[in-house]
């Protein structure tokens, strides 16, 4: 017989107290492992949720982008055809083309068989002083409405022309001059009847006056000239602006084509807005998960140490009780020649045995409880990812040591007892 065998035999004999001791270790280890498993499971689930959300967002974004692409396709491009020599820097600085081109260009275009362009709007535009109104600066635009394509069925015009002798006024103009529809005014010596007053647009349109193209050409001394052709709702395969450009250049080599910014901006803005929304959703989900984790962590931060401490006290109490119950045995072992170190060993070995068994069962039980009350689904994959071999190792080492520490003082008391005292008092 060895001391280990003695310890095992005693543990088997005192089954109940040994099981209570194991239970203490199981509870301590189990709670620790369960809580850590729940936290790990939570993190795993967070990763999963966020990955899923991100994927969903990506999908939604691409759907949205596609939707916008489709909508924009229906709307088409808006193109501006400008004279070839026009410096774009001047165009952007002034807000209109300073160079001009023959009005006949629009006829050439409408007679061509370009299928990519739908609506053609030639115009002449110029910043002028209004002599009859204290020389105030206005923008004068002459239009002739839409020019129909000769080789196609006529379409519903999307813009109507301003009839001769009529004038359409922007908001600032009619408001400050106190004009209304039907009033008569003079512009550069000519008489006009106000046919329409636009509401406020918040752009240069508010200081713009629209009149008939021919009249405008005469007023600014540019007969037969225009400085821009607006091509609306242009379409082409794949929405490639380059193809439209090429088509127009073929018919009108002395021009340049620019795409009006609106479409590009709309698309980009829509995309940004969608992304922002999606990101907000993602961030708030993430924050919610972090908050949830912090709550679990906060709870665990006092709960787990409390349980472990409680279990250490519990083991200490059991060990103390064990020493008290085994007084006679300690006395006899000592009387028969066992050294105090060996007596100490008998009690500490029991604690270590208790720690090993308890830790093993506690690890398994805690892991199962953690899995069951965690958020992840129970399958081989999650079991494999959630199982933490490092934690297992640490617990398997720490639990027997802590159980030993808890039993240390009672064991020391046992080892230091005088055998005669014990035997006489029995």
């Amino acid at each position: 017989m060895t001391l280990w065998q003695l310890v095992i035999k005693e543990s088997r004999y005192q089954r109940l107290s040994f099981c209570l001791g194991i239970l203490a270790v199981i509870v301590a280890v189990g709670v620790l492992v369960a809580v850590l498993t729940i936290l790990r499971s939570h993190d795993l689930q967070t990763q999963k949720i966020l990955a899923l959300k991100e994927e969903e967002m990506e999908k939604e974004m691409s759907i949205m982008e596609d939707d916008y692409r489709k909508i924009m396709k229906i709307l088409g491009f808006n193109l501006l055809i400008l004279p070839e020599g026009q410096q774009l820097s001047d165009f952007y600085a002034e807000g209109y083309a300073t160079k001009d081109m023959p009005e006949e260009y629009v006829e050439r275009l409408s007679a061509s068989n370009i299928m990519t362009i739908r609506h053609l709007l030639p115009s002449i535009e110029q910043k002028i002083r209004w002599p009859e109104q204290r020389m105030r600066t206005i923008i004068l635009i002459g239009t002739r409405g839409e020019v129909p394509f000769t080789k196609r069925d006529p379409m519903e015009p999307i813009l109507v022309a301003v009839p001769p002798e009529n004038i359409v006024l922007g908001y600032e103009l009619w408001k400050s001059l106190n004009l209304k529809v039907g009033d008569k005014i003079k512009l550069l010596g000519k008489d006009f009847k106000v046919s329409e007053c636009h509401p406020q647009r918040g752009s240069k349109d508010d200081i713009t006056a629209w009149i008939d193209l021919k009249q405008a050409q005469e007023l600014v001394g540019k007969q037969g000239k225009i400085n821009a052709i607006l091509a609306l709702k242009c379409h082409c395969l794949g929405n490639e602006i380059e193809n439209v450009r090429k088509d127009i250049k073929n018919v009108l080599p002395n021009t340049q084509v620019i795409e009006l910014a609106s479409r590009v901006i709309t698309r980009a803005e829509a995309r940004d807005r969608a992304k922002e929304t999606a990101e907000f959703v993602l961030v708030s989900e993430k924050n919610y998960r972090i908050k949830l984790r912090n709550e679990i962590e906060e709870f665990a931060a006092w709960f787990v140490p409390l349980i472990i401490l409680g279990c250490i006290v519990w083991i200490g109490f059991l060990a103390f009780n064990n020493v008290r119950e085994r007084k006679a045995e300690i006395g006899i072992l000592s009387a028969l020649g066992l050294r105090s170190k060996q007596i100490l060993f008998v009690f500490l070995a029991k604690a270590v045995l208790l720690g090993i068994f308890g830790a093993l069962i506690g690890c398994i039980a805690g892991f199962i409880v953690g899995l069951a009350s965690g958020e992840t689904v129970f399958n081989f994959e999650t079991v494999r990812t959630l199982f933490n071999p490092f934690l297992f190792l640490v617990v398997m080492l720490t639990a027997p040591i802590l159980a030993g520490v808890a039993s240390w003082i009672p064991a020391l008391i046992a080892a230091k007892q005088d055998p005669a005292d014990i035997l006489r008092n029995e």
């Binding site: 017989m1 000592s334 009387a335 028969l336 105090s340 035997l423």
Partner: protein
């Protein structure tokens, strides 16, 4: 083997001072079987514990195998007890969760390398306990417990055997088994000091002393 000179033991308890032993002197040689007889409370157990290195005397000298156990460190004294002295206690003090065999083997725990199992089985056989070898003390009769305790005391081949009332609670048959083994042990050059209030023991002992109120008559 054993020399006691002017051994006194005074207990100072809450109920006053008790003079359990008063200037006791005696000696036991190897191969000698000495019995000390006396009524209950006369100081017999106190004498045995003092001789066995378990109870520090108030005064006087104890020499076992030419050594004074009370001059040793507690661990050395424990080792000395294990190797030199065999104990059979009045209340047996068997370990409740160990079988007869394991109980007999307990003294071998003091010598981690010793393989005492053959010796243990031989002793168990000598005390007629072979068919009880796997039983725990709770399942044994008083006689069987006493014999187990005797076997345990003899396991390490001690030079001095101390027996406290080894036949006090036994019937004649059991008493004869125990006493004849003690006699046999003495004849094989062991020293035996037995204390008892029982008259049956006297006819096995080589020498019988009377103890009364802590004093040898």
């Amino acid at each position: 083997m054993l020399f006691i000179k002017n051994l006194s033991k005074v207990f100072k308890g809450p109920k006053g001072i008790v003079q359990a032993l008063e200037s006791v002197s005696l000696s036991v040689k190897a191969s000698e079987f000495v019995a000390v007889q006396g009524p209950s409370g006369s100081g017999k157990t106190t004498l045995l514990l003092s001789v066995g290195g378990l109870l520090v005397p108030s005064d006087g000298e104890v020499t076992v195998d030419n050594q004074n156990p009370y001059l040793m460190s507690p661990d050395n004294r424990a080792h000395f007890r294990a190797s030199t002295i065999g104990f059979a206690f009045q209340q047996f003090y068997l370990v409740p969760y160990l079988s007869v065999l394991d109980n007999v083997l307990v003294p071998s725990l003091a010598f981690p390398q010793s393989i005492a199992i053959d010796r243990a089985k031989e002793l168990i056989n000598r005390f007629n306990l072979t068919d009880r070898i796997g039983h725990v003390p709770g399942e044994l009769s008083t006689g069987e417990r006493q014999r187990t305790a005797m076997a345990r005391a003899l396991l390490n081949n001690p030079k001095l055997l101390l027996a406290d009332e080894p036949v006090g609670n036994l019937d004649n048959e059991n008493a004869n088994i125990v006493l004849s083994v003690l006699e046999e042990f003495a004849s094989s050059s062991g020293a035996v000091l037995m204390v008892t209030h029982d008259n049956r023991a006297a006819k096995y002992a080589h020498k019988t002393l009377q103890l009364k109120n802590g004093k040898l008559l």
